[in-house]
């Protein structure tokens, strides 16, 4: 869209293009923030801060490169620097966790989603974020490595360990849930996934 403009100072049309792309990324930033904080309100605060950081740093962004990965990296850095400062003390309260990532408009979904969310919470932080980026965010291993500022091999092994651990947790029912036996979590996820992918394919 941008015609030849002087490179010295970011032009208004560059700003507009940047802004337009940034706006399309807001939903993804919110989702990633929610998996990191586990709390919708804190997640939106984090996503807003990340969005503004990205906006302020727009001069250092090269149009045409991967803006999604770039903004995710900003958000992640923001999360960990704030966490070091203040969020360490804040216990993730159970009530907030209950509200998180629940499909309120889907009566069948909550059970399996809850199981999965609980199992995700039991993963080490770096495994969880790697799995979310690759397994849910649609990033390639290379992009996830860029976001987490680590080696590609590290991401691969984290994702692989996360997948194994998640499955084991879901099958064993490593967390206590009244009336739910071990296999039920996995069974409801299998049934739900079947329903979802069936609906998605059409």
């Amino acid at each position: 869209m941008t015609t030849t403009t002087p490179a010295a100072r970011p032009s208004s049309s560059d700003d507009n293009a940047f802004k337009a792309e940034l706006v399309t990324l807001i939903p993804h930033l919110r989702a990633f923030a929610r998996t990191l904080t586990g709390d919708p309100t804190a997640a939106d605060d984090l996503a807003q801060e990340a969005m503004m950081k990205a906006w302020d740093a727009r001069a250092s962004y090269q149009m045409g490169t991967n803006m999604k990965a770039w903004t995710f990296m900003i958000l992640r850095n923001q999360f960990y620097s704030e966490k070091r400062r203040s969020w360490r003390q804040t216990q993730l309260d159970q009530e907030a966790a209950e509200r998180t990532l629940i499909a309120v408009d889907d009566p069948e979904a909550p059970v399996a989603l809850d199981e999965l969310r609980q199992a995700l919470k039991s993963l080490p932080e770096e495994q969880r974020e790697a799995l979310i980026l690759v397994g849910a965010g649609g990033f390639a291993y290379e992009e996830a490595a860029e976001i987490c500022q680590c080696a590609v091999g590290t991401v691969k092994s984290r994702v692989s360990r996360a997948r194994k651990a998640l499955q084991a947790t879901l099958e064993r029912g490593g967390y206590a849930r009244d009336g739910q036996s071990a296999g039920d979590a996995m069974r409801s996820i299998l049934a739900d996934a079947d329903r979802l992918s069936g609906a998605g394919r059409k």
Partner: protein, 68 residues
């Protein structure tokens, strides 16, 4: 005596192994579908106005500065 016994045993062992692998693959696939679903659900939420408002204000600030 040993050979005819050994063969079918190995055979059925490998098929159940394949079955196990297939089962693991299916379960991993199901977990993957759920994981994406969980993430996409937030992605598909309407974006709170606040986000666009903040960005609009910042943008106005930027063009005001540029105009000076």
């Amino acid at each position: 005596m040993i050979e005819p016994k050994d063969n079918p045993a190995r055979k059925s062992g490998s098929t159940s192994n394949e079955r196990d692998l297939e089962e693991v693959r299916l379960r991993q696939q199901a977990i993957g579908v759920k994981l994406r679903h969980m993430f996409d659900e937030v992605v598909n939420e309407p974006v709170p106005d606040e986000f666009l408002e903040i960005l609009r204000r910042a943008d106005q600030g930027a063009s005001a500065k540029e105009g000076q």
